[in-house]
Amino acid sequence: MAPVSSGARAASRPMYRTLLGILAAFAVALAAVGLTFSATRESPADLRVANGTEPKSLDPQLTTGNIESYISDALFEGLARYDAATVRPVPGVAESWDISPDGLHYTFHIRKNARWSDGHRLTAGDFVYAWKRLLDPSVGAEVAYLLFPVAMAEAYNTFDEHAATIAKKLLPALAALRARSPSGLDASSWQRFLSENKVNDPLRPLDDAALDALVTRRGGVTAAELDAFRAGLERARELLSSQAAEARAHFGIDRGVVARDDATLEVELHAEAPYFLQLMAHHSSFPVPRWALEKYGDRWFLPATLVSNGPFRLERWVVNDHLRVARSTTYWGKDEVRLGSVDFVPGESQMTNLNLYLTGALDWIPDYFPKQLGPELRKRKDYYGVAGLSVYYYRINTTRPPLDDRRVRKALNLVIDRAVITEHVLSLGQLPAVTFVPPGLAGYAPAASAIRSDVAEARRLLAEAGFPGGKGFPHLGLLYNTNEDHKRVAEVVADQLRRGLGIDVTAYNQEWQSFLDTVRGLNYDIARAGWIGDYADPNTFLGSWVTGGANNETGYSSELYDRLIRFASDLRPFVADPEPTLAKLKEPDPIRALLGPARTGAPSEQREARGKIRMLLFREAEALLCNDDFPVIPLYFYVHAGLIRSYVRGFTPQTMASDVTLGLRNLWIEGPRGAPE
């Protein structure tokens, strides 16, 4: 027995040591667990909202998505804000404003009791600083283009870069081209030169007719025309540089946007923009505290240092966990704000969001729930759905034969049955789209569209284009970015194209960044796209389709379309000389009738007539898209749908149509808070 017992004792010590070691590790682990928990235990907020993914930034000038926009809207306030019920701009920081009869001068009167959260008074200078910052080229704000209606704003932001592009890229490329082809160019070489070098980009703001004629020309160019083009480019470069210098010298000082005194802000537009007040409710025009930015730089919007002027202030931000805002004590309208605190909860999994809502851990999920459950959720009492200002569509690559033939593009549009998609694939009450601009824009009547479900006509058009029954038609790829919902729509559309036209179509997907790359490089046949309007005006939808427009990405180019969009932004040249354009329009008479009141008549009559002409010009432009040229296949208009608990009061679904605000200022909690049924 002796060898065993000594062996037992000898062997058990390392055993106990091991056990002790394991227990110690376990204790350490539990302590670590306790450490990670202690920081996050706190009382729940009054309102807990699901907010998609983690916000990128809280800087109002630098954010772009609606996730950040909802939070910016709670923390900051601009000159105007959206009224929750009517979704129209009403006074915010500015208690009133005056607009000149020609619509070019706005004077905003800022409230005397408008304050920043650290007590500083809010002044007109804060707005000048913010707008200059938005438009400063070195800041790189992606939404700077929204304030381009302001005089000199576009010059301040882009003209230096455009002049540099012309000098460093276009002129040398043109010289090389000229050396290679001394006798002029044929059509395809000229087109290739234009698109490879994105020639139209720097030239668009200048409105030079001679240059425009050459840039939109579909045919070839002679040697003499090439020389004239070079001279035109030199002229353009001079003009752009000088205007940029002038903007730097004057913008924010005595032109564009000026702080007349602490409580008066004067804005000068370079052309009338009826939607301008909506821009004042958009986060890009919100004021920012200069002293905080100068002191803290990039980190100024973090909880320790954020200074804001809105109905709420930032209390806590735990990345990937939640962001809490609490009622501000310095906001001018603090008595109207009834919510004490709001939690924005990021969540990548839509199913988890829904489960959190159903177990009472969230009070409101605006949109982030699994769409396949749409038909079930629509039956609930706490469901709401409101048409949004966004359109889901497919881009067609108009540079690739046979998609460069508009009969083919029209056939693609006519063979798709949109009702099937909205009723059976999506089933959240989306509206099928036969135009590009969503319905519901005040004052805008969309064009009569040639798009409808007509398989016979589609087949006839395809035959006329040289592909009877789809014979000889090349294989088409239908590209979408990786997403379950896009996949379902794409599969149905591909099937409809196959069965209706007899052509070979395959739906395929790429992940987001690769997808963007492919579309931008025009390496697709048909690609899925979506567009959310920045404000309620046709301009935000129709402005993309100009020749070489950054968000065009289809190769679509129409001189008439470019002209119509240009006139809609600045009516004066059109009113001065309307006939050449009117001759090309489909319905010139209503516009002609309005020209009289637009030129003479009382100031308010003139403004009304101008507004109507503008809307009619947009209607003509949209008619080019959905009656004549078909560079896109509109599919449906989005619906903003969500679930909200009944004890959240003051909520009106229309608020969600604006896509920039949750209307938190108007909400309050009343009633028992149990888990929903």
């Binding site: 065993v4 037992a8 062997a11 055993m15 376990f26 682990a29 670590a32 667990v33 450490l35 990670t36 928990f37 996050t40 235990r41 983690e54 990128k56 930034s57 800087d59 630098l62 772009t64 080229p137 070195s138 790189g140 704000a141 992606e142 700077a144 882009t158 230096d160 870069e161 592009t165 990039d298 980190r299 100024w300 919007f301 973090l302 735990v318 990345v319 990937n320 966990d321 969540g347 990548e348 999994s349 199913m351 988890t352 489960n355 959190l356 159903l358 177990t359 851990a361 992940e511 987001w512 960044q513 690769s514 963007l516 790359d517 492919t518 931008r520 979506g530 950054a550 968000n551 990405e553």
Partner: protein, 373 residues
């Protein structure tokens, strides 16, 4: 990939391989130096430059004098391999389509140039590598994140790492306990109920994806029985479901490994000798067989621990846990280069540390291995 980049990668790999041929003294010196460097880096990030410098020098001296050869050899490999990792990852990221600044609305060339200058992300991969290393060595920072603005990568990863480690540790302990118990029992009594149970567990745990397991658990325990919360992070109750979901596949695999290890060990001669000596069966198993049975489990646990602690994206997304897994995937999808490099560095360091721990544990468990340097 350009010729220059390919050449750089080839050189790095060769240099790394060459480390294996260093004589023991050179290994000792290099290992001590690199160990001191790592200690300096960590201490400087936590407590500032002076404390960092002292810690670095002290660490190097201690390691050089007393460090075991195995550890020093690992440290010699560590720094060059991390360098190579950063370089190759940078190359791969730059060659992937897209960029951190691409979005649905096209950004003008001027805006993009301003953003690139601001974040220190030039168009050339090699230039970015230089900027990244300089920032890492001289400022001790892992760089700014492009997609979560205003924060550095270390500010993002620092709160996420303990969360993932906690969850991972708990899941690992659950998996080890359950897997070992079931596997050893099955190995000791083949064709019994525990053998069938371990087979079923392995099939279920290894073939069902974690989002299915997690969803089923959520439906049963949160939505059905209301015993546990659906998601979130903040208490012991929130830990249970994600830990079980994470643990299940590992438990299944550990059970299989333990079972086969046990069966193999129980057939060895020294077990028959112990039984012949008259030892009770429990002593035979606990004192003699267990060590051998655990060996395959231990070598699996090393990389498994590194993997489980850097977070599972699926489980974190499903249960709303602010852990590391999300930064891996989101960084790649968003092309947020600094986040990707930061998470890759953390993962590589963890893998190296756990592999070293596994090797040391192996040497302790099996004396036959101890004799190798």
């Amino acid at each position: 990939m350009s010729a220059g980049e390919a050449l750089a990668v080839a050189t790095g790999v060769t240099a790394l391989g060459g480390v294996a041929w260093l004589p023991p003294r050179a290994t000792r010196v290099c290992g001590a130096l690199f160990g001191g460097l790592v200690a300096f880096g960590i201490a400087r990030a936590a407590w500032g430059l002076p404390v960092g410098a002292v810690t670095g020098v002290a660490g190097a001296a201690l390691l050089g004098r007393y460090g075991p050869a195995t550890v020093l050899r690992r440290l010699t490999f560590l720094v060059p391999s991390l360098l190579l990792l950063v370089f190759v990852t940078t190359l791969l990221m730059y060659h992937a389509p897209g960029s951190p600044f691409a979005g649905e609305k096209v950004v003008s060339a001027q805006v993009e140039a301003a953003l690139r200058a601001h974040f220190g992300i030039p168009k050339s991969a090699v230039e970015f590598f230089g900027i990244y290393l300089r920032r890492l060595i001289f400022e001790g920072s892992l760089g700014p994140s492009v997609k979560v603005q205003g924060r550095t990568v270390e500010a993002l990863l620092a709160p996420a790492l303990p969360v993932s480690i906690t969850l991972g540790l708990l899941a690992l302990m659950l998996a080890s306990a359950a897997g070992l118990l079931l596997g050893v029992h099955a190995g000791l009594r083949p064709s019994s109920w525990s053998d069938s149970a371990s087979t079923v567990l392995s099939a279920v745990g290894l073939s069902l994806p974690s989002f299915v397991i997690g969803s089923v658990l959520m439906v049963v325990f949160s939505l059905g029985l209301h015993w546990l919360p659906v998601a979130g992070w903040g208490g012991f109750r929130e830990l249970v479901l994600p830990a079980v979901t994470l643990a299940l596949p590992y438990a299944a695999y550990i059970a299989r490994l333990a079972r086969s290890g046990t069966i193999e060990v129980m057939n060895e001669d020294f077990i028959r000798t112990a039984r012949a000596k008259g030892l009770p069966e429990s002593a035979v198993v606990l004192r003699h067989a267990l060590k051998g049975a655990i060996l395959p489990v231990v070598s699996f646990l090393g990389p498994a621990a590194a993997g489980i602690m850097t977070g599972s994206f699926v489980v974190e997304t499903l249960f709303g846990i602010p852990g590391m897994g999300q930064w891996f995937v989101r960084g790649a999808i968003n092309r947020d280069y600094s986040v990707v490099l930061g998470t890759a560095l953390v993962y590589a360091t963890l893998v190296t540390a756990f592999n070293l721990a596994v090797d040391l544990a192996y040497a302790w468990l099996d004396p036959r291995i101890r004799s190798r340097p």
